[in-house]
Symmetry: C2
Subunit: 205 residues, 2 copies
Amino acid sequence: MTALAEHQDLYALSPEGQRLLFTEARTALKFTDEPVGDEQLQAIWELFKWAPTGSNLNPLRILYVRTDEGKKRLVPLLTPPNQPKSESAPVIAVLAVDREYGEYGAELCPSIPGLKDVLDSNPVLRDASGDFNAALQAGYFVLAVRAAGLAAGPMKGFDAEAVNAEFFPDGRWKSILLVNIGQPAEDAWGERMPRLDYEQAVQLV
Amino acid sequence: MTALAEHQDLYALSPEGQRLLFTEARTALKFTDEPVGDEQLQAIWELFKWAPTGSNLNPLRILYVRTDEGKKRLVPLLTPPNQPKSESAPVIAVLAVDREYGEYGAELCPSIPGLKDVLDSNPVLRDASGDFNAALQAGYFVLAVRAAGLAAGPMKGFDAEAVNAEFFPDGRWKSILLVNIGQPAEDAWGERMPRLDYEQAVQLV
């Protein structure tokens, strides 16, 4: 924590909330066997869903892998260093972009009639926009998991094409990120890595 | 708010925090002229920077456009409907991906020696990973702005190539999203748009 961050008058979020979501939250690498219930998964959704997306099109989809059968199908498709992490997680979220997200255009963005046709007329833009907004939503998702009192372990190390073939054989959902979810084990944490300085990443004009 | 979300025992984040970041937060379309100071911009950073990225590579960069001169250069590059929004905002964040984010690999991820060389040997993977992680971080950024007590107005409607040419002529930073930031005006809000139902977006196995 820097001296600046201790100036609580600069924040609307409480110190507890800052620690929970940002400053003391960590990527969990190992979990206890305490299960994650349906209501907890829905609680994540009830926060996550409100964060903004382009034209409100919300292209992110979630497959929760929670059964032993599901985990047996998923875990071998991860890189070897990631397998024990997901093995220990009570639930793994497979975050995916819905390639046909425009189908919900009339429902989600009634102020732009014909949005689905506009998207379908420009597949390159449609796909790029879906990928971008789904990744944006993946960021919201990680913080919503933490808001629900659970530890998140996001991972890119998996065979995305194999996961798509195994779980999304109709080709509509395309996996973008896995997130292990649960209560962190005592030895859940790696060493905290540094961050860039403000001056390295921020400019003003 | 659903009945479920009122079950506060499902959340670690306080009800005030839930409202601030998720359930009652809205995309501001108009701002008061109350300025946003340097310390507020740094306060956003002090939360934002801790949220996780792949191999901790943190590819997102921020250009804050706050002066009249800067706004005169930026606003004409927005789509016409977006121009008055940014015109009224005391500061506009131009979020960008650093195409050479691997340069900080040794500093940010010392546990993987030679990460920069690995990335440079596979430019397609390097660029896709940079784009994905920067978009993920853009999601964290929107919520960190809200945590700092400011309203955020993210916008994709701008000429990205023109913004790059105007502000990032050396080609290293590539703009991905604009975020208007400030105190919301009284009439800052559009109509709240619906969201997908849980069952439309979530599956379990």
